[in-house]
């Protein structure tokens, strides 16, 4: 206890000791997280990988079938259909991040009404995706508001069953996801901007940097790690959490035209009951895809960070 008056640092122990101690403390502070993940996630993840090679029915039947599930999934072309849809939906990621960044800088610069906007923009995140999906679907239904407006403006030839074809339904979903995520992106980026010294910002403004220069040349390089977070989470979210939105907008249909990998996992594990082995297979495939994309993103952001210092 006598140490209290002369704690750690100034004694300057040898570098190797320091390093070892630092590592020990770091791992100690990571321990709760590692323990929780190990206890809760490790077994289910390993079990999922193992069962992707079985014909698991959710109960006791899990005979080893080798690569049969993988062959079926890739061989029937189902994978490409679903993956292609996932890729289209991924287009919302750059959209939401860029719009979020612009809105965040606008709010940071205190445009008129910024307080109200900041309070309102997050609201979609609080409302059930099922309701939002239903509203979008109604908006684009055959005699919904969008078609009515088109008709009134004289574009009767453009009136169509928007959700009835993947080529129109998927872009609408991209719009919906972007719309839904703007508020989330905005407040994350605002949070990141709190680390920026306002004098830097003010100086750039006085130097005559216009809005886009301020946004992309000043702000963006200073918050690359936060932007990386935004992009990674948006990608992960788009790949793994769109079920309820798709469910209420199209149900994955018509056919499989708007169905995604995670929706299929849901279908295989719940709707068609006993094909959990296949659901595990799709999960493993999804896992690998998201991991590769995330690794690429991180690499990119490392390069960006080095470039911008």
């Amino acid at each position: 206890m006598a140490q209290r008056s002369s704690p750690g640092a100034p004694a300057l122990p040898r570098a190797g000791d320091m390093q070892r101690k630092r590592t020990r403390i770091a791992y100690l502070s990571l321990l709760p997280v590692l323990l929780i993940l190990l206890l809760v996630k490790a077994y289910p993840i390993l079990a999922t990988i193992y069962r992707s090679f079985t014909n698991w029915d959710g109960l006791y039947k899990h005979d080893f079938v080798g690569l049969a599930n993988y062959k079926e999934f890739f061989g029937t072309g189902l994978f490409m259909t679903l993956f292609k849809n996932n890729l289209v939906l991924l287009l919302s990621v750059p959209l939401q991040v860029i719009i979020g960044l612009i809105v965040a800088v606008l709010l940071y610069e205190q445009v008129p009404g910024w307080k109200a906007f900041r309070a309102i923009y997050y609201i979609p995140q609080i409302i059930s995706l099922v309701i939002l999906g239903y509203l979008f679907r109604s908006m684009f239904s055959l005699d919904g508001p969008v078609n009515k407006v088109l008709e009134a403006l004289g574009f009767s030839s453009s009136v169509r069953e928007w959700m009835g074809d993947g080529s129109t339904a998927l872009p609408i979903m991209v719009g919906c996801i972007t719309w839904y995520s703007i508020g989330w992106q905005t407040i994350v980026i605002l949070g990141g901007m709190s680390g920026i010294d306002p004098s830097v910002f003010e100086a750039a403004r006085l130097d005559g940097a216009n809005f886009f220069q301020r946004t992309f040349k000043i702000v963006l390089p200073m918050i690359t790690s936060v932007i990386t977070y935004c992009v990674v989470m948006a990608v992960v979210w788009t790949f793994t959490s769109l079920f309820s939105l798709i469910y209420s907008m199209t149900g994955g249909g018509p056919g499989y035209e708007t169905m995604t990998l995670d929706y299929m996992i849901y279908e295989k594990s719940f709707v068609t009951g006993s094909q959990l082995g296949m659901a595990c297979t799709i999960s493993v495939v999804l896992f690998i895809i998201v991991m590769l994309i995330t690794a690429a993103e991180m690499k990119l952001s490392d390069i960006a960070e080095q470039k911008w210092g």
Partner: protein, 284 residues
């Protein structure tokens, strides 16, 4: 300086501002629409809702839906359950997340990148499939039908994202401040308390907002893990109102609207500390 602008330039600048304001306003209205939709429908009778789901209520307003939510559906009791779960979820995320993220952001240690990546990868596995094995192991140790089980499941679900968010933000804490604190006699925990917590408060606020709301709104985990009627969360109870063939959407909307209030309140309180905006920002 403004005098150097010509009339012409000033016009375009004002025009630009008006356009930006209008775009932001239209977005804001679109974000408010779902709440409006839920409100108008929560005040309709079931019959009127089926006939007229998008118009304003024309018959007598059904405030009864809200009263019944409190008196019969006991929604306030359900709020209590949801609140306990969300509160402890967020508490754990903040404590464990801050500890871990400080290490990731500011301490150089062996194997850092490897551990970080392993933690992240747990994000990529969709919950639908891991739920069954997790459920079975939880059932064996008595974590089913137990708030703690749900809280632990949420910790495992949200910690990777929390750590990513906090680490990204903590990186911008100036090293000089930490060194200064060390020289002032702060130990590890002291630096966390006196430097990391206040400087990283925006990220901590974001964590509180995101995961209070995520856990408050989540359906799947509590639906699977909680059984007893007196332990159900508000979202689980509300979701049981609408079936494949039957249900009373106006009544459900009334409940959903009420259950949005705590989430909105948490957002309203914590959003203020995310960023103070430019003019007030120079506190450092």
């Amino acid at each position: 300086m403004k005098t150097s602008l010509s009339k012409h330039q000033r016009f375009w600048r004002t025009f630009g501002r008006v356009v930006i304001f209008l775009v932001l306003l239209i977005l804001a209205i679109s974000f408010l629409y779902p709440l409006y939709y839920m409100l108008i429908n929560s005040l309709k009778s079931l019959g009127e809702y089926y006939v007229n789901p998008f118009g304003l209520p024309r018959e007598q307003l059904q405030w009864q839906n809200f009263i019944t939510m409190i008196s019969q559906f006991k929604i306030l009791k359900l709020f209590g359950n949801s609140f306990i779960i969300s509160f402890f979820t967020v508490l754990g995320l903040v404590v464990f997340g801050t500890l871990a993220s400080y290490s990731f952001a500011k301490v150089n240690f062996k194997g850092k990148n490897g551990v970080y990546l392993v933690i992240l990868t747990t994000l990529f596995v969709p919950a639908q499939v891991t739920m069954i094995p997790m459920y079975i192991s939880f059932a064996k140790v008595g974590l089913v039908d137990n708030f703690l089980g749900v809280v632990i499941a949420y910790w495992a679900m949200f910690l990777p994202e929390t750590i990513m968010l906090m680490t990204a933000n903590f990186k911008s804490i100036p090293n000089e401040l930490l060194e200064a604190a060390t020289i002032d006699g702060c130990d590890y925990i002291g630096r966390l308390r006196h430097v990391v917590m206040p400087m990283g408060w925006p990220a901590i606020s974001l964590t509180i907002i995101f995961f209070f709301i995520s856990s408050w709104n989540d359906l799947f985990t509590p639906m699977v893990l909680l059984k007893s009627m007196d332990k159900r969360t508000v979202m689980v109870a509300l979701s049981s109102l609408i079936g494949r063939y039957t249900g009373d959407p106006p009544f459900q909307y009334a409940g959903l609207l009420m259950s949005a209030i705590p989430a909105l309140a948490v957002y309203a309180v914590f959003q203020k500390s995310i960023v103070k905006g430019m003019s007030m920002g120079a506190i450092k």
